[in-house]
């Protein structure tokens, strides 16, 4: 079964998954010690840890498929911004707590349906990894969903902030569902699910929750695109400069 799968396409797709999780986890980690209260410090770093864990698994799978002898760490620490394949939303600066939670909610909802679909993948290692990630993402989604409710339906300041976060982030979400020729190939092979279906599920879940939270979707804005082809915002370069510093400054070292 595995032999019939296009390894190059799978490799590229695994990087999309891994890069998305790593950049999300990296941003969340910036909250460490700076959360609004202690329980949140623990929760934010916990979600961050899960996401970096997912990234690690996907990088390892990608490294195994690679023709060159690559390691998960080399994929994370020695690729430049144009080689990263995450959607732009995951690299955006953490912003305030409302921005972080709105972004988290969008990604948690996306990951929930994504991993649910990938749990059925014809490529068994991917199915297993998705099943494991899904167990954690269920908690992430429950948490970010509840936070959105709390922030939207409580004080005026919180509802203003969460509405602003929605306005600022909404047009970064279509990019989550972009596909390319390699992904289409994987879809035909049953390795990944239908991203059109994924978008439908995401839309309906998000719409319902936005209604419940009495939040209004913005009408116009710049629609983000490019991550899949390695075209990123200005923010990713800084993130990588920080994240990759030791590997770049002390090449070929053991840590």
């Amino acid at each position: 079964m595995t032999n019939s799968i296009d390894n190059k396409a799978l490799y590229a797709y695994l990087l999309r998954l891994a890069d998305s999780s790593l950049t999300m986890g990296q941003r969340l980690a910036e909250w460490c010690g700076h959360g609004p209260y202690l329980e949140e410090d623990v929760a934010l770093t916990n979600v961050s840890l899960d996401m970096i864990g997912h990234a690690n698994i996907f990088y390892q799978m990608a490294a195994e498929l690679s023709d060159e002898a690559q390691t998960a760490d080399e994929l994370a620490f020695l690729r430049d911004a144009h080689q990263y394949r995450n959607p732009i939303i995951t690299e955006l600066p953490k912003g305030d707590f409302a921005f972080t939670m709105m972004k988290q909610y969008f990604m948690d909802t996306f990951n929930f349906f994504l991993y649910e679909g990938l749990s059925q993948s014809s490529h068994e290692p991917l199915a297993l990894a998705a099943q494991k990630a899904l167990m954690e993402v269920k908690y992430h989604l429950k948490r970010s969903e509840t936070w959105l409710e709390r922030l939207s339906l409580s004080t005026e300041e919180a509802s203003k902030r969460i509405q602003k976060a929605l306005d600022d982030l909404w047009f970064y979400t279509p990019e989550l569902f972009e596909t390319d020729a390699t992904m289409n190939k994987l879809f035909q092979q049953g390795v990944i699910g239908d991203y059109g279906e994924l978008k439908k599920k995401w839309d309906s879940h998000v719409q319902a929750h936005m209604n419940h939270c009495e939040l209004n979707l913005p009408e116009t804005g710049w629609v983000a695109t490019g991550g899949l082809e390695g075209e990123h915002s200005e923010h990713l370069g800084y993130m990588l400069a920080e994240m990759q510093f030791l590997q770049r400054a002390y090449p070929n070292s053991q840590w």
């Binding site: 460490c32 202690l38 970096i52 864990g53 990088y59 305030d96 409580s154 919180a158 030791l246 840590w255």
Partner: protein
């Protein structure tokens, strides 16, 4: 006889019979529990010590949090995240344990942020290199374990019990720190130098973590009698040095103390004089990072105020809604 110098919160002398019973219970190694009678001074001492401990865990997130986004591998990043998360968790347990003494976490947080309460001086030192993550785990957590293992037998039940779990986690932390140092010490010359510099920075401040020398320790005697403290500062410090010197030798690193040498007669390492003036300066607020650390906590607290308020208001609205639905 136990009542000498012990007064309650209103300045009245504590009843001698209760005091005698209290001390006898401690002497029998029975735990004091939140609802038991206890002298006001015992309560006050515990609140001071436990809240300082909790604050240290919280402020202690910062020097290590400083390297999470720059950890050199995915594995190191995950380990460091988990470790710092543990520290926040320790802060939570100990705040909760302290609340059993009749103070609220809000009060304690306020005391930290206004500078009224102290936290461990060690966290006022900077972590400029990755090797500091190793040195902190190895030495700072190592020193903390020396201090905290005896606290698992502290006379106050909630404190002792929280410490049992904390010590288990600290022991992992210490090993991961030593492992970071081991990898660096076996690495390139640049990595060895990085490790040595971190050891140079951390050695003396970690010795200061045991507090002033016994002759100047103002809280020690009473705390020993109450079995909040089991060993003197100097004894614990010596135990730490004796355990750590061979570990440094194993790494091939040099402890920055020219007077450090094995003493056959005493069976301990002799060490150079500790500059306690530095410790007192740091405690007073004049350490390299005191202002930054406290400001980081103040900023987190202030910029999170609207989140806490929103959560409280939401909870209030929910419970009103539930009540009206039930009615």
């Amino acid at each position: 006889m136990y009542s000498q110098g012990l007064t309650d919160a209103k300045g009245q002398e504590e009843p001698a019979d209760l005091l005698a019973e209290f001390q006898a219970k401690i002497d029998r190694e029975e735990k004091i529990e939140p609802r038991d009678w206890m002298p006001a001074a015992y309560r006050k001492t515990l609140i001071r010590q436990m809240s300082q401990h909790a604050h240290s865990e919280i402020v202690g997130q910062l020097p290590e949090g400083n390297w999470i986004t720059r950890a050199p591998t995915l594995n190191r990043k995950m380990i460091l995240l988990a470790k710092v998360q543990d520290e926040a968790g320790h802060g939570l347990y100990i705040y909760s344990a302290t609340e059993t003494l009749g103070v609220s976490r809000d009060q304690l947080t306020d005391e930290l942020l206004t500078g009224k309460a102290k936290y461990s001086s060690i966290f006022n030192y900077p972590t400029p290199s990755w090797a500091d993550m190793g040195a902190i785990g190895w030495l700072v957590d190592g020193a903390a374990i020396m201090n905290q293992v005896p606290l698992c037998r502290a006379s106050y039940g909630p404190y002792a019990r929280s410490m049992v779990r904390i010590c288990k986690e600290e022991s992992f932390h210490q090993r991961q720190g030593y492992e970071i140092m081991t990898v660096l010490a076996r690495g390139s010359q640049a990595q060895k130098d990085m490790a040595q510099r971190a050891l140079n920075r951390t050695w003396w401040p970690s010795l200061m973590m045991f507090g002033p020398s016994d002759k100047d320790s103002k809280h020690s005697e009473q705390s020993m009698k109450w079995k909040i403290k089991r060993f003197s500062n100097d004894d614990l410090r010596q135990k730490f040095i004796d355990a750590t010197v061979p570990q440094a030798e194993h790494l091939g690193l040099t402890i920055p103390d020219p007077d450090l040498k094995w003493n056959e007669e005493t069976g301990h390492y002799d060490h150079g004089e500790i500059d306690f003036n530095e410790l007192f300066q740091v405690i007073k607020g004049n350490g390299p990072c005191n202002k930054e650390r406290l400001q980081a906590r103040i900023n987190a607290h202030e910029s999170g105020a609207w989140v806490r308020e929103a959560a409280a208001v939401f909870q209030q609205l929910q419970s009103e809604k539930n009540k009206s639905e039930a009615a």
